[in-house]
């Protein structure tokens, strides 16, 4: 029975496809999976937006949306109808074709990433050998859509926002990749399915997730920071800092195209949270051995939603960084830290089993973190904000 | 048509397009774009020969392509850096106007 609940979507797919002639089954199965992914994540997007607006409201001592439906739970529906019926404005001077293509490229690229994401036991669309590389390749293509949006609008705020976004995403993509390389070194595979399987063991009822090792924990922290920057979330939301450059690269977008950008941003967040959960938090595996009867897909989506809640919490807590702080932080702190982490992981691999490697590896990570943090603080680059007014 | 010959023809055409772009355009950045196209055409050749060669398990063509991608990335970074620094001196990226050795 529980086996069935775990595999319910896989069985459902086989049952549905079974009605078709044998030659069509494979193609129809792929189409069904893609349709499910394309419908599921916008639904999650609606939930996440509501959660964000309600949660931020709580943190800022206000109610948040509470007019549409019971406690405002129908607010996303109202927003969706509004954005669909709004006039779609293209600026007179804008480059119409590029302006039109930008949101499409973004949405296609972020949805492609889910093709390789294992969302439960046996629940992955394509299990290819280089799936991690595929995910990062798709993530890298989103940068271009941001440039297209910013440049084609012929608006200085849009262009400024796009330049900021590209500089930021390029800078943080390096630590994002390097913090994931640690996992690849340990698993010996780029396949996300194999990475999850490698973590799906228990000793004394506790899981073997990579986050519970010194190198895994350091990599996890760096990954979280880089993922926040990569998805332009607060405190790294300079590309769309409302108080400085209106709305950044999508200032000139309205109606459905704006909704597509919004959707693309959130689906990108789900993608990167799902990847983080897969790499460091065991993907669809249960947090305790006695809980492994709960269906695997529940764990995956619970981890993704927990990650999203963390993003919302951080957004409600931290102020926005300044551009120079952002760049210095990426190149002078996060990047060296991930490089050190690579060496720690190699050391861990070659020291063999035992308590000694725990002590040595943790000591290296902590010492390097403390020393670099001290040095950076003393330089005053990561210190408290100092405001300089226009001279 | 023979599959390998098809890939080789595409690569040759792409190389010729890149070469024509690099030789005829005035803007320095466009010349770099042409060079990138030529490098990519060479990569396509390497991968096609690897796929249809007699020893694909030796990975020679693929390794060559991987290294060539890395070298092309370095080339693009240095080349564009040079273009920017020249632009700072002469306020132009037009190659026909860059005809003096003195900055």
């Amino acid at each position: 029975m529980l086996e069935k609940a775990d595999q319910i979507f896989v069985l459902l797919l086989h049952w549905l496809v079974g009605f078709l002639p044998a030659g069509w089954q494979h193609g129809a199965g792929v189409v069904l999976c893609v349709a499910t992914i394309v419908l599921l994540y916008p639904a999650l997007f609606a939930i996440a937006v509501l959660l964000e607006r309600k949660g931020l409201g709580r943190m800022q001592n206000r109610y948040g949306p509470n007019r549409v439906g019971l406690f405002g739970i129908l607010q996303p529906v109202a927003d969706g109808i509004k954005s669909l019926t709004k006039e779609d404005i293209v600026p007179y001077k804008a480059d119409a074709l590029v302006h039109f293509m930008a949101p499409l490229v973004l949405v296609v690229a972020v949805f492609m990433g889910f093709a390789v994401m294992p969302m439960g036991r046996n629940m992955v669309l394509v299990d290819m050998d280089a799936s991690l590389l595929f995910f990062f390749a798709m993530g890298a293509s989103t940068e271009l859509s941001i440039f297209m949006a910013g440049w084609s609008s012929r608006n200085k705020y849009s262009l400024l926002g796009a330049m900021r976004a590209m500089a930021q995403m390029i800078s943080y993509e390096v630590p994002l990749l390097l913090s994931s390389v640690v996992i690849v070194m340990m698993t010996g595979s780029l396949s996300l399915v194999k990475i999850v399987e490698a973590q799906n063991h228990y000793s004394w009822g506790l899981p073997h997730w990579y986050v519970f090792t010194p190198w895994g924990f350091a990599g996890f922290v760096m990954f979280v920071i880089a993922s926040m920057a990569e998805t332009n979330r607060s405190p790294f939301d300079l590309p769309e800092g409302e108080s400085e450059i209106v709305a950044g690269y999508f200032t000139e977008y309205s109606g459905f195209k704006f909704a597509l950008f919004f959707l693309g941003e959130y689906v990108g967040m789900f993608g990167i949270s799902g990847l983080g959960a897969t790499l460091f938090l065991g993907g669809w595996s249960a947090p305790f051995a006695f809980l492994s009867w709960v269906p695997s897909w529940i764990w995956f989506f619970a981890k993704v939603m927990a990650w999203i809640c963390f993003f919302i919490w951080v957004r409600g807590t931290l102020p926005r960084l300044r551009q120079d702080q952002l760049m210095n932080f990426a190149w002078k702190f996060v990047l060296p830290m991930t490089l050190v982490n690579l060496m720690v992981a190699a050391l861990w691999r070659f020291m063999g089993e035992g308590l000694l490697r725990w002590v040595v590896c943790s000591a290296i990570v902590v010492v390097v973190y403390a020393v670099m943090g001290r040095v950076e603080m003393r330089r005053g680059r990561l210190g408290p904000r100092s405001y300089r007014y226009a001279e | 048509m023979n599959p390998l010959a098809g890939y080789l023809l595409v690569a040759a055409l792409l190389f010729a397009i890149g070469l024509a772009g690099a030789l005829t355009r005035r803007n320095a950045i466009l010349v770099l774009i042409g060079i990138e196209l030529m490098l990519n055409a060479a990569n396509l050749n390497l991968i096609a020969f690897w796929r249809y060669g007699s020893h694909p398990e030796a990975l020679t063509g693929m390794m060559f392509a991987i290294f060539s991608i890395a070298v092309a990335a370095a080339e693009a970074a240095v080349g564009l850096g040079l273009v920017i620094s020249i632009y700072r001196h002469t306020r132009t990226t037009d190659l026909d106007q860059m005809n003096r050795m003195k900055g």
Partner: protein, 167 residues
């Protein structure tokens, strides 16, 4: 030759042509990314998964962005006058390129009947590529690492602002 090959090849060549022919440089850069994406698809058709994804990651994710940055930093994003697009010696350049293509196309077509036809797709895992990089090809790998470091530092130094009076 499959139908997919013709579509992807046409896309790649159209992207390449547009990249060298269009007036506006930003359009050229965007057309260049189309050509890069088409090449990545061609690599995937040739069963070179790893190289195809690396192509997307490096070329679309980094080189195209670099080109775009350079275009914006040199104020080349405004459309130039049509007399300033092609250099004075464009005819010679075009003739040279055509001659090169003629020679290469002739060579390929001459050799075409003798080329191997259908060969079973090689099954190369990423693990084997990694092992080869760390084993047989470790020296080129180290040299490329050195080259990339040198290029990184060199590009930064070349493009860095010179201090006033340093000249």
């Amino acid at each position: 030759m499959s139908f997919a090959f013709y579509v992807v090849a046409a896309l790649t060549l159209a992207g390449g042509l547009a990249a060298v022919l269009l007036k506006n440089l930003v359009h050229c850069a965007l057309a260049l990314t189309v050509a890069f994406a088409g090449l990545a698809l061609l690599f995937l058709q040739l069963d070179a998964q790893f190289v195809g994804f690396a192509q997307i990651l490096v070329y679309i994710g980094a080189v195209a962005i670099l080109v775009v940055f350079a275009i914006l930093l040199t104020r080349a994003s405004e459309t130039p006058k049509s007399s300033e697009i092609f250099s004075r010696t464009w005819l010679a350049g075009l003739a040279l390129a055509a001659a090169v293509f003629a020679v290469m196309g002739w060579a390929v077509l001459q050799a075409a009947p003798g080329l191997p036809h259908v060969i079973a797709a090689p099954t190369v895992t990423v693990q084997e590529i990694g092992a080869a990089l760390m084993g047989r090809y470790v020296l080129p790998l180290e040299i490329v690492a050195l080259l990339l470091t040198a290029a990184l530092i060199g590009a930064v130094i070349v493009a860095m602002h010179e201090k006033e009076g340093a000249r």
